[in-house]
């Protein structure tokens, strides 16, 4: 029963589904009250406890808009494949909220998923991969001497590396961000993984992978190393990482791995049937465009440059077959929308794409 002393506790008289309607459609004051009521309603608390999942993007944004600061949180599950080529791994080794396990791959994966979630929520108000609170799953210790990490459509999969050329693939935070961003791209523009659209898909993953690391470290654009996988190569390899966004083609030059084949300008675009039409090769061109835009704008790269790239990825004009020039046009359009046609942002983005020969 309600007492007369807390007339605003709407949960006493209104069922949760009506409170939800008010929270969505009421005046600002009513919305705030409805949301507060929903949050303290014992039924809702039971529901939250039993599902133990993150709230959806819409609900999270509604709460934030109503001044009720309850940010969504990630829902992480890490599994161990035990050296077998199976994903998901057979054993759950760490769930959301669990203490560190002491297994460095498990804990790096857990922390990396959290750092990626944090960038997308704090910088772009995106709630997980699908912006609807999608659980973040990962499998570590996949296969033996496995030199790779990939996104399988539902989860991230990490090998331990061979210890000869590569360290464990959880070691580089930007690689974790890179893989999760593939999931986001799949949910948004759906860039086809072949030729220029595929290289753009790869570049988007490098951009946000790097931003995850910069965001966690609190680095400005000029402080960042702009390397992907800087920790991944062992000391036996002549190289500093898998790719350099700042200077494509300079990340490694090693007797076993060969020389980094990435171009940084359209004049050097590589036409090949390998690597899905050069998706990891020609991504150097849009990677450098982002780097140049971020450096020109200064400050934190995830703010203005990252915001423009993020909105461009969500823009309906970015489609499955969008090429470099098409994406460049979208980023310039987005910069105009967000900052105005004569803005420094439009100039920086336009000059960046021009400098790499895309426009």
């Amino acid at each position: 029963m309600c007492s007369s002393t807390h007339r605003h506790s709407l949960h006493c008289i209104l069922p949760p589904y009506i409170l939800s309607q008010i929270a969505e459609n009421g005046s600002p004051e009513l919305r705030a009250m409805a949301i507060r009521s929903l949050l303290v309603d014992p039924t809702m608390r039971l529901v939250r406890a039993s599902t133990a999942g993150p709230v959806t993007g819409a609900v999270a944004r509604r709460r934030a808009a109503a001044g009720n600061i309850l940010s969504p949180s990630p829902l992480r599950t890490i599994r161990d494949a035990g050296g077998e080529p199976e994903a998901p791994g057979a054993t759950v080794v760490r769930r959301e909220g669990d203490a560190p396990t002491g297994d460095i791959a498990v804990d790096e994966a857990y922390d990396g998923l959290g750092a990626t979630f944090a960038l997308f929520w704090e910088a772009y108000q995106r709630n997980s991969i699908d912006d609807a609170g999608m659980p973040l799953d990962a499998t570590v210790h996949y296969d033996q001497d496995y030199d790779n990490a990939f996104w399988d459509g539902t989860q991230m999969v990490f090998g331990d590396g061979d210890g000869e050329l590569f360290n464990r693939f959880t070691i580089s935070l930007d690689v974790i961000g890179h893989e999760l961003t593939h999931g986001m791209t799949e949910k948004e523009a759906g860039l086809a993984y072949f030729n220029q659209s595929g290289a753009l898909n790869e570049s988007i993953s490098d951009v946000f992978g790097s931003l995850v690391k910069q965001h966690l470290l609190g680095q400005t654009a000029d402080q960042a190393d702009w390397l992907i996988g800087a920790e991944l190569l062992t000391a036996k390899v002549k190289g500093v990482g898998l790719r350099s966004m700042k200077a494509p083609g300079t990340a490694y030059d090693d007797p076993v791995l060969g020389k980094d084949p990435q171009p940084g300008h359209m004049d050097d675009f590589v036409r090949t049937n390998q690597d899905n039409g050069g998706v990891h090769i020609n991504s150097g061109i849009p990677n450098r465009a982002f780097y140049l835009a971020a450096i020109a704008l200064g400050g934190n790269a995830w703010d203005r440059a990252g915001q423009i790239w993020y909105n461009a990825l969500l823009d309906p004009n970015t489609r499955a077959n969008t090429d470099f020039a098409g994406f460049a046009r979208v980023t310039i359009d987005v910069a105009m929308r967000l900052h105005g046609s004569g803005s420094a942002e439009v100039t920086a983005v336009t000059e960046a794409w021009s400098a790499v020969g895309v426009i």
């Binding site: 077998e84 080529p85 199976e86 990939f150 996988g229 076993v256």
Partner: protein, 116 residues
């Protein structure tokens, strides 16, 4: 392959592996690797032939799967007692026995290629 051949130490052949895709493209690693059964220990040879049996490697229907971002595509070739076939398989490989076969061939062909 004949049933029971997996345990025969006299089995002859070779295993081949080509890997495409992955988190990065390394020109130095983008080449075929071949290991002769003559260079394998008996248990290694037996494991390959046993897995080839389990997966019906020489008669199974080829998959048309395409690799997801950063996943690898494997071209696995086996020649065992005169029978030969190549299969192209994209990660994640759903059949556990086939995934195991790919894993074993990948590791053995790399070990015997003496990369570094």
């Amino acid at each position: 392959m004949q049933a029971g051949k997996a345990c025969d130490e006299t089995v002859t052949g070779e295993a081949r592996m080509r890997i495409e895709g992955g988190l990065a493209h390394f020109p130095g690693l983008a080449k075929d690797q071949t290991v002769s059964f003559d260079d394998l220990a008996t248990p290694e040879r037996q494991e390959i032939t046993s897995l080839a049996d389990q997966t019906n490697f020489f008669s199974c229907v080829a998959s048309n799967d395409t690799a997801r971002p950063d996943a690898r595509t494997y071209t696995v070739g086996l020649t065992i007692d005169g029978r030969s076939r190549e299969l192209r398989l994209a990660e994640p490989i759903q059949d556990p026995a086939m995934a195991k076969l790919v894993s074993v061939v990948r590791r053995l062909s790399k070990q015997h290629a003496s990369i570094r």
